[in-house]
């Protein structure tokens, strides 16, 4: 059976430079489509991919990723803003890799577009009053 799933990969610092994705194609015969990648040297790398292939290969590929130390997150998680805590400072704007936050130039309010959010989690700890929350 062929499966196709969207997942978020978090690479720890030590893995950022390794060609992990290359092994997924070569050793596990999986197709993938990178939807978003953001790799900051010396920090966590992040990649949103759509992974496609035989279920057995898919499972092996995921196992391989987990064993190398990549943290896998399914896109089923939801990041929401607690509007009561948000102070509209804007600290999240440059942190979000998908530009889910936008500053309105007139009202100076920060809008949050949940549709653009890939639940990477970066804003959760970057928001000073901790207004961004992870819901399952």
């Amino acid at each position: 059976m062929i499966v196709s799933k969207k997942i978020v990969l978090h690479f720890p610092v030590r893995l950022v430079d390794r060609a992990i994705v290359y092994h997924l194609i070569k050793d596990y015969d999986l197709e993938f489509n990178i939807m978003k990648a953001s790799i900051i040297p010396d920090a966590e790398g992040l990649m949103v991919i759509e992974l496609r292939g035989e279920q057995a290969n898919y499972d092996k590929g995921i196992k391989y990723l987990t064993e190398t130390g990549v943290r896998i997150q399914s896109l089923g998680q939801n990041v929401l803003r607690n509007d009561e805590r948000c102070t509209h400072c804007g600290a999240c704007v440059t942190v979000c890799p998908t530009k889910a936050f936008k500053l309105d130039p007139d009202s100076r309010l920060i809008s949050f577009d949940a549709g653009k959010c890939i639940a990477c989690g970066l804003c959760l700890k970057a928001c000073p009053p901790r207004a961004m929350e992870l819901h399952f």
């Binding site: 010396d42 600290a91 440059t94 100076r108």
Partner: protein
Amino acid sequence: MSKTIEEINDRIRRGEAVVVNAEEIIAIAKEKGIKKAAQEVDVVTTGTFGPMCSSAAYFNIGHSNPRIKLGGGRAYLNDVNAYAGLAATDLLIGANALPDDDPRNRIYPGEFNYGGGHVIEELVAGKDIRLSVTAYGTDCYPRKKLETLINIKDINEAVLFNPRNVYQNYNAAINVSGKVIYTYMGILKPNMGNINYSTSGQLSPLLNDPYYKTIGIGTKVFLGGGIGFVAWQGTQHNPSAPRNEKGVPTRGSGTLALIGDLKQMRPEWLRGTSMMGYGCTLTVGVGVPIPILSEEILEYTTVTDADIIAPVIDYSSDYPNMVANIIAEVSYADLKSGKIEIGGKQIPTASLSSYSRALIIADTLKEWIESGRFLLTEPVESLPGIESGLKTKPLKERPVTE
């Protein structure tokens, strides 16, 4: 044209005072001219809402039975370290204080989810706070342990006292190194990946009164959603910083020490705040009214974001190592546009201080004055200005010999 504070207060009492915020005054002065605007407008209100680390609260919890002496013992509020070096039942908690078991930056970057700033916010919100004390016991204060819930409505006094708030201008922060850094100016991406700044610019109290001609010791202000006062110049008050031709400092300069009754403040305007990899702090809302006593004072309040210049400073190496190097000078108008260009590179910018909330503060203060519930005060003493020659000094380290 000149007015006195007493005349303005009379107009406030009669409900006739003309009050506008520091953003509105820009257009008014442009349309009517400085002279006419100064005649018509009585008060310009300012506001700011940003993280202000040098903030603290002190309280008197009342005497327990049998009595316990907090002074010289150890005290915790919701596990956060409080300062017990005052008298028997007085306690102070600083915004940066942390629980003893917080991992801090041992797991880097630390999350700093709960600290002194959060305790202050919860206290103001009317939540019960767990107080744990260990004391050494004396003949008159025999008790050695105390574990109790306290609530702001029951304790004798609760006072917000911030030794340094409302910085008059500040650095914009950038990171020239190759790795992410976590600072009090937020998360800075490598290779000049972003710039963070923190000011309400044209709405900011001290930028609208650059020479401290009206704001002085005793000035009544909006503090944390309630009423507070300027207690003193803030620590690191540095009137001698360079200024532009309009008198607006182009570097961090003046500061205020503020005090006010915590019992009448509101949690929306005192927000416990976490700076990843740096620590806990408190985001404080402050609004200062500027009485338009003369055309000169009105002219200062017409300052715009384009007139205010901030230095862009590298926080990866220059700032930590006290290197006086400025990467660029940029205006707040540029910073607020969302990106600026440095060396041919477009760099996204973000603010740590909330302009939209600063505007709400300025408008709240305006409403308080218009409705007659907030009268202006005459400062009892001026803040040290340029004439004082006061300058912030670095620490001079000296060898310690036995």
